[in-house]
Amino acid sequence: MNAEELRSRFTGFVFDDIDLDVEADSLAGFALACGETLPKFTDPSDPEFQSVPNYTTRIHGTRSLPPDFPVEMDRCFDAGKSIEIHAPVRPGDKIVGRSEIADIYEKTGRTGNMLFIVHRMSFYNQRGEHLSTVDWRLVQREME
């Protein structure tokens, strides 16, 4: 199945969603792990306490790809994440994360043909505010 066929079959619908209660310790711990030092990210008693901007990149759904997606994981590797931030996460937020395949495309490189699968998670809080969009790229290399 080529990229065009995969795109038409697997994009455009939510295949997974998760709920997450955000605790202050989780926000502060992630900020410290990132090397952040500003109190508004690391100190829950700070009046401006909130998540570091990339907080939602740490959250994963219950599955990486839709059921029946024809991927060969032994030829795949992680091609990184990008995040678009709309609003900070606050302690006590109840986050919903919805997963969809945003894009599937091919490219060619030094190592041969590659198939890129863009897994997009969109995060919302309990007020329905869009917090962030995280695009995770998975690459499948062609067989040698």
Partner: protein, 212 residues
């Protein structure tokens, strides 16, 4: 006039540089560039307007594309609606002969890039698949090349008497201007770039090292 004819911004899926940051870097480092051409992968960006950046930094910022063929990647300068209708820029299996002939028909110029690079460069395919008619210019200096790759490209260009251009192939700001093209005439816009490339009075160069 010196232009970096091969660069990628965040509009490319693997680009990590904003165009404004390229401009800031060129200004801060005093690079001897008069401008750059954005050659985004498998697409043409017809929406972005870089005129305010051009005015602010005194640089020429043009837009082109890098498309993919069975002979490797190809820069296309002078992209227009006719050319975009002629073949699918997003595909990775375009025919080089089609890209060359349609570019010529539509008033554009197609230039195989990083020819010495394995899998996505012209040289290896030239040996295995055979020559293709219609190439007039080759990117012989590519800033992302590994040892020997530019030399291989240069040898192929000299063998056939093709014109030679250079481009950084930058994906991050600090790589812009590593290689470039010196034009004997002034280029003011995309049409002028196409004219200059057809005129043949240009050559690939490695601009002077950073000044600071």
């Amino acid at each position: 006039m010196i232009l970096d004819l091969h660069s990628h911004s965040v509009a490319s899926d693997d680009g990590r540089a904003k165009v404004e940051n390229y401009c800031q870097w060129i200004a801060r480092k005093g690079l001897p560039l008069d401008g750059l051409v954005l050659t985004e992968h498998r697409q043409f960006d017809d929406e972005s307007d870089y005129r305010p950046l051009e005015d602010r930094f005194g640089l020429l910022i043009l837009k082109a594309s890098e498309v993919e063929t069975e002979y490797g990647h190809v820069l296309v300068f002078g992209v227009n609606d006719d050319l975009r209708a002629a073949f699918d820029f997003a595909r990775v299996d375009n025919r080089l002969a089609t890209v060359l002939s349609e570019s010529r028909r539509c008033g554009a110029v197609a230039v195989p890039c990083h020819p010495g690079r394995p899998k996505v460069g012209l040289c290896a395919h030239w040996e295995t698949r055979g020559p293709v008619e219609g190439i007039e210019i080759l990117e012989v200096l590519n800033g992302g090349s590994r040892e020997g790759e530019n030399e291989e490209a240069l040898a192929l260009a000299e063998r056939y008497g093709w014109g030679r251009i250079g481009g950084s192939d930058s994906h991050i700001v600090s790589h812009v201007g590593r290689c470039a093209t010196r034009f004997e005439e002034e280029v003011r816009d995309t049409e002028g770039l196409v004219r200059a490339l057809r005129g043949g009075r240009f050559d690939a160069i490695t601009p002077a090292p950073e000044s600071g």
